[in-house]
Amino acid sequence: MIELYVLLIFMIIGAIIAIEMKDLLSSVIAVGAVGLGLSIVLLILKAPDVAITQLVVEILCLIILIRATLKKDLPFSTTGRWLLNALITISFIVIFLFIGARSFKDLPEFGYPIMRVAKIYLKEGLNKTGASNLVASVILDFRAYDTLGEATVLFTAVIGVLAIIRRIGRKKKNEVVEEDDE
């Protein structure tokens, strides 16, 4: 259990570095470190499916952030009500840390779920679906409606991005849009 706390502290430090860093590249890399820490945490909690997905999506997001958004010089505003913002942030961090530490103690043992539905899945999943990976049998057989909805959400997101940022579209009068090499 101690390695879990070490990883969580590492992730919190990474997140603080990502916020406080003035250089955009450094802060993006710190966000990537937080994501990799999260994937190791999921691996320790014995959820390899989620760990693989988290790792892979984190890498893709990191590449997109570095390649697509880093060249833009984003405006950086640090002035304003920093005392109020800091107080709100610190209070949120304290509340979430407290709740997280409480809920950590009540984590169920591996293979002994709290909910009754999960017990039925664990007991009858292999016989009813024939898939030895229980996660696949849940997301594609017992809960396939949810996966259909998730696929629809992704499809809509791709269509939305392609429609908004398309190559040939309506332009304003003095705006020139063109493709760049690389």
Partner: protein
Amino acid sequence: MSKEDEKGMSLIVKVITRLTVGLILLYGIYIVLHGHVSPGGGFAGGVIIALSFVHLMLAYGKDVALKKLPKTAMSFFESMGAIMFLGIALLGFTGGYFFLNFISKGEPFRLFSAGIIPLCNIAISLKVGAGLFAIFVVLVLLKFEWEKKE
């Protein structure tokens, strides 16, 4: 992947990419096909397949990558995955209800088992891989004029 292509990164990166990109694509296909036996599944495998094309595009430039997977093929695969997933779900009505596992279950721990689950995995991987690569291409390639002046 021609040697005389001048765009993209340096020679070292290109050579390493030529060696590794096929292995990454193969690993993604492995993760997809074994989604019902071992950890992984359609979403993770699809993202790995998309990452292999992203790798190609980062190293060699957009022409080589878009020659391997043109934009029309991307939209075809994306739509094909969605239609395939919905079609598998609708085929369940032949036996009774939506998302019925109508193919025989087979023996557990075998590659050909679990009925419709591998087919659904393949459909989702097509959709996710083509869609995420399309998003990457669009986000990276498009630049506005005011960004170039800096």
